[in-house]
């Protein structure tokens, strides 16, 4: 039994063509999968279905063997924008998932500090989001998604609006944290090298269908040098060709 399995999922907005057409996908425990696709190919919709935010018209999603019909506390979600609450401090933003469930304990605060330390923001606990750079905001969003120790993480192009160097740093952080916690990840992006660098397995989506899947046989942990490795580039090229647009 896979950790997360998406079975024959279809979705259409009323009276329109299918956004997702008969998608199937399996993720084993602890694996990092990337779903690639151009804008508007339905990848965000698939992610929302996979996380229980959106019920599919057809098909089912199973998390650890149980059918997923609504969001679960087992899952963390990082959105395209950091979606931080401007009126709360960095610390309180990270603690939000806990606050919504119960009273926070000193242990929760320790955990939040530890997470913020992990993403390099331990000096910013009492700042507000408006005082942070885009990269720092994304880090806070990442820490917030991790506070409940999710066994499954969904990320929707979380680093798309960041500059190249910051993005690389955050990719490193994400890989490090997920390896540490053994988190299963479904990551969505339109950036081929990001997908290949992060993932154990990549898939390409086009017009609501998964048209290509491949394992990424690169060593782990990944290093910066790997980005310039011939193997790495070959994989990127292959994916690029699948994505079309004349190469």
């Amino acid at each position: 039994m896979s950790f997360l399995s998406i079975e024959d999922v279809s979705f259409r907005y009323q009276g329109k063509n299918a956004v997702i057409n008969q998608a199937n996908w399996e993720i084993e425990k602890g694996e990092f999968h990337c779903l690639l696709g151009k804008s508007g190919c339905g990848k965000t919709t698939l992610l929302k279905i996979a996380s229980g935010l959106l019920p599919p018209n057809e098909g089912r999603v199973y998390l650890q063997g149980k059918e997923l019909t609504e969001p679960s506390h087992e899952c963390g979600f990082v959105f395209q924008s950091p979606a931080l609450l401007e009126w709360k401090t960095v610390m309180d933003n990270v603690l939000l998932p806990v606050v919504l469930r119960r009273k926070t304990t000193p242990e929760d605060r320790e955990k939040a500090v530890a997470l913020l330390e992990l993403v390099g923001l331990c000096d910013y606990l009492n700042r507000h989001p408006a005082q942070l750079s885009g990269g720092q905001q994304s880090r806070v969003a990442l820490a917030r998604a991790l506070i409940q120790k999710p066994s499954m993480m969904f990320l929707d192009e979380p680093f798309a609006s960041l500059d190249a160097i910051t993005r690389e740093e955050l990719q490193e952080d994400l890989l490090k944290i997920c390896q540490l916690e053994g988190t299963t990840v479904l990551f969505i992006t339109h950036d081929i090298s990001e997908a290949v660098y992060l993932a154990d397995r990549v898939a390409v989506m086009e017009q609501g269908e998964i048209i290509y899947e491949a394992d990424v046989n690169l060593l782990k942990p990944r290093t910066v040098e790997m980005r310039y490795d011939p193997n790495f580039n070959e994989l990127c090229l292959k994916v690029r060709q699948v994505m079309g647009g004349g190469v």
Partner: protein
């Protein structure tokens, strides 16, 4: 540069006062009393305790009316923002009631609630109600979609979403409504006193008109202006403190 502008602004004030003083020198006090005359009338009135009951009365009406009107506006705004059925049911009436000149209802309220304080508080509350209602309804409805999804992902209840997301996120808009309400509150209370009442600064203005005591009229006007400005500044301060974290680039 900004400092200079403030200085010029103050100089302009001095120039205006001085030219008023000079102009008033050639005119009857009945038409245009000089600032100095108004000032001494004001000081005398405060010293003798003449103004005190009127100030307290008007201030009480403003504060009570503002509080009640804003509170009801806010709560009903929340209900209408949250419950679509209620919003669709009531919105046509809210829009229609906007067209009613609410101050024109003042005589009716005097008839219903008497010449005492109640009628003025009701008028003030009614006039403060609408800006809060409208701003609250619109402010809590248009939320960042990803924040709403975040709260759904975290399995927040409707109540939690309201308390932790919609109200704080809508606060800038809601406070803007309060700022409008504050200014209107002074108008509401004074108009109420114009129409019926023997206490309050509005009543003093009407009485001074009857007595042809123009300096007294100006002195009351000055007091009302100070009260209005004080309240407005208070809301500004609340806004500044509350909304500080929302602003980009604010330093701790």
């Amino acid at each position: 540069m900004m400092k200079n502008v403030q200085l010029y602004s103050f100089l302009l004030f001095i120039v205006l006062i001085v030219s008023w003083e000079i102009t008033a020198g050639n005119m009857s006090e009945l038409v245009l009393p000089a600032p100095s005359v108004i000032f001494f009338t004001l000081i005398d009135g405060i010293k003798s305790g003449y103004f005190l009951p009127h100030i307290t009365r008007t201030a009480a009406e403003i504060v009570l009316g503002l509080f009640l009107g804003s509170l009801f506006g806010f709560v009903i705004g929340l209900l209408m923002g949250e419950i679509e059925f209620l919003r669709k049911l009531l919105f046509p009436y809210v829009i229609a009631s906007q067209a009613v000149p609410k101050l024109a209802l003042a005589p009716l309220f005097i008839l219903w609630f008497g010449f005492g304080m109640t009628s003025k508080v009701v008028i003030t509350a009614l006039i403060c109600f609408f800006p809060l209602l409208e701003n609250t309804v619109t402010s809590i409805q248009y939320m960042d979609k990803q924040k709403i999804e975040l709260f759904r992902m975290l399995k927040a209840s409707r109540w939690q979403t309201l308390i932790h997301l919609k109200i704080p996120a809508g606060m800038p808009g809601i406070l803007a409504g309060l700022r409008v309400a504050v200014v209107l509150a002074v108008v509401g209370a004074v108009v109420g006193e114009f129409i019926g009442g023997s206490e309050g600064l509005g009543a003093v203005i009407i009485a001074s008109q009857a007595m042809m005591d123009t300096p007294l009229m100006f002195a009351s006007l000055l007091l009302l202006t100070i009260m209005g400005m004080g309240l407005y500044q208070l809301v500004n301060i609340i806004e500044k403190i509350w909304l500080k974290p929302y602003k980009k680039g604010s330093k701790k």
